[in-house]
């Protein structure tokens, strides 16, 4: 009987079933985004209190930890549900010229590692990604990175409650990061 309690301790690797559910969720989420099912993503895959972030990190020497001047973590994304909904609403306006013809985006999610979080029932999930974007006829880019997610069950279904995205490029080698990771 004590086995179950140990499995739920923060930092413990999740059981097989939970791992399977979490990994499946991430795959399903990636496909929903690939297929531009943004409203389904907002309404059925995110929690209402989601925090969705993409911070930038400076290229600094290992030994030089000093925070200089006004420097602070700059977030390319630092969105709550309302801001994410606003970004999605922009797709619906019909005036988003850059996405018409549509951009083709393919998300590859791997290296899924899930552990029970501090809050009972929540799971911390790390995953790596490759996001490939193809625009127009021959404009394309590939971005690599990592996500640290927080997942929580709402009405028996896993939902994304938090995401911190790390992009490996300091200088974004594409014109923008105007896509969900």
């Amino acid at each position: 009987m004590s086995v179950k309690i140990q499995q739920q301790a923060a930092g413990d690797v999740v059981d097989h079933i939970t791992h399977f559910e979490v990994a499946s969720f991430l795959t399903r989420e990636a496909r929903a985004l690939d297929e531009e099912r943004y409203h389904e993503w907002l309404d059925q895959m995110l929690t209402q209190d989601i925090v969705y972030q993409l911070p930038t990190e400076e290229v600094r020497y290992r030994r030089d930890k000093k925070v200089i001047g006004t420097a602070q973590t700059t977030y390319l994304y630092n969105d709550n549900h309302a801001v994410l909904s606003m970004r999605v609403a922009r797709f619906d306006t019909g005036f988003l010229w850059a996405e018409d013809p549509p951009v083709r985006i393919r998300r590859y999610i791997s290296n899924v590692d899930a552990m029970w979080a501090e809050v009972p029932g929540e799971v911390d999930v790390w995953s790596n990604f490759i996001v490939y974007r193809s625009r127009g006829q021959r404009d394309d880019s590939t971005m690599y990175g990592r996500r640290k997610d927080k997942l929580r069950k709402v009405d028996g279904q896993w939902r994304l409650a938090g995401r911190v995205i790390t992009l490996d490029q300091r200088v974004i080698l594409d014109k923008n990061v105007h896509c969900f990771f």
């Binding site: 200089i68 014109k175 923008n176």
Partner: protein
């Protein structure tokens, strides 16, 4: 390369398309513009303490700008004087020295050569270290904004800004001044550097069309512009000064791109500060303080005052730039307001910004359409409101009614042509003095 007077015609209204594509023209720009003009490096607020530094570029020259022990500033080329390697590989931080990883030559934060390994045993103490410091860059700052130039003959920074200084004082001269929040976001755009510079200096025209989707969802004061349906020339102004700088302003719209609570908080701040600005700088500049600006300091430093995005377009060849983006705030603003403005800047003009992404596509395509040989023989046109420029008793340079206008853009290309002809500083145009601008 065609003669300059064929590349730019009709007083800046016509551009030969080759200026956005050709390698030889780009190399001339590096020589006549980027190696001569004052170029934005960083801001006092970014490197306040001894040894604080940033690595940036002037044209394609990699430079380090560092705070000195006496509080002053030095900038120097990031390339070892022994075999040419970079001496700094971080983008900024705090340092006591810069040590080349190739042979260990150590340079001070002033760029002087301090230490050479095996100086006694291998050089037999026969090395003139004083003559082997890193190549120095001339540095000056204006209201905390730090610029550098490679040209020892260039006028002072304040003279280089010319009539633009009178205008930017509208917000740079507020009590406490301005500061930049960094570190900057950085991204690559495959466009010529002039495409974004001309967009920021005076392309009010694109706002309602290119950004229609963002205007619709963000709402606020600019929403009526969506689809270019509604606009009155009384709503703003464009300004160009002979030094090549310029801007467009929309009256009473500083907070327009901050919908919701941030906009309310920002408007409250503006209302509170306005009397101070009026007292110090007069009614006209109080009006500028409350306006929303799109501006470029020639050649490649642009900002939107109000939205408060601050950018440098670093050239990386004729068809590529690296974009640096900071947030511009008043130093005396409450921290909470600064953070709201910073967050809004990321959301609108950050690398994931909902307006930035529209612009990036347009800039790249405006450049790349010129890859076609026949296309490149043609010209592009900036003739909007031509001939309607006027001088003003108070405002320096030329002004023209309406922020949807191309007056300031033509001014940028007039300056471009003057510089590209290799005109010496003494013969370059300068802003005529007015009662207000002396």
């Amino acid at each position: 390369m065609k003669p300059i007077n064929e590349l730019i015609q009709q007083d800046g209204a016509i551009q030969d398309r080759s200026i956005y594509w050709d390698e030889d023209i780009y190399q001339k720009e590096m020589e006549h513009i980027f190696a001569r003009c004052w170029l934005f490096l960083t801001h006092d607020s970014v490197i306040p303490e001894t040894g604080d530094y940033q690595v940036t570029t002037m044209g394609e020259d990699n430079v380090i700008v560092a705070r000195q022990k006496d509080g002053g500033l030095k900038a120097f080329v990031n390339s070892c004087t022994h075999r040419g390697n970079y001496v700094c590989f971080s983008e900024g931080g705090n340092a006591r020295s810069f040590v080349c990883p190739y042979h260990g030559w150590a340079f001070g934060i002033d760029g002087e050569l301090d230490d050479v390994p095996l100086e006694e045993q291998a050089y037999f103490n026969d090395i003139d270290k004083q003559s082997l410091g890193l190549q120095q860059v001339r540095v000056e700052s204006y209201k905390g904004f730090i610029f550098g130039t490679f040209d020892l003959d260039a006028p002072s920074l304040v003279d280089y800004l010319g009539g633009m200084a009178w205008y930017i004082d509208s917000f740079m001269d507020v009590p406490g001044g301005m500061e930049l929040i960094g570190p900057p976001m950085k991204s690559i755009l495959n466009c010529n550097w002039k495409n974004p510079s001309e967009n920021f200096i005076g392309d009010g025209y694109h706002v309602g069309w290119a950004h229609a989707s963002a205007l619709e969802i963000a709402g606020g004061a600019l929403e009526s512009m969506k689809g270019l349906n509604d606009y009155s020339p009384d709503s703003g102004l464009q300004v160009t000064v002979p030094e090549g700088h310029g801007f467009g302003v929309i009256w009473d719209a500083a907070a327009a791109l901050h919908p919701g609570p941030p906009g309310i908080a920002y408007q409250k701040w503006l209302d509170q500060r306005s009397p101070i600005v009026r007292e110090k700088l007069g009614k006209t500049r109080e009006k500028f303080y409350n306006g929303h600006w799109d501006a470029t300091i020639f050649p490649n430093c642009s900002f939107l005052y109000g939205t408060n995005t601050f950018k440098v377009w670093q050239p990386r060849g004729p068809r590529q730039i690296e974009v640096f983006t900071w947030t511009l705030v008043e130093k005396e603003m409450p921290e909470e307001l600064q953070q709201m403005i910073h967050a809004d800047n990321m959301l609108t003009f950050g690398t994931a910004g909902i307006l930035e992404s529209d612009d990036g596509e347009n800039f790249e395509n405006c450049t790349h359409a010129n890859r076609g040989f026949a296309t490149r023989q043609g010209r592009v046109y900036l003739g909007m409101a031509r001939g309607r420029e006027r001088t003003d008793a108070e405002m320096p340079g030329l002004v023209s009614d309406g922020w949807v206008n191309e007056t300031s853009t033509r001014g940028m290309y007039r300056r471009w042509a003057e510089l590209m002809q290799g005109t010496p500083w003494a013969k370059l145009s300068v802003t005529a003095k007015t009662d207000a601008y002396k």
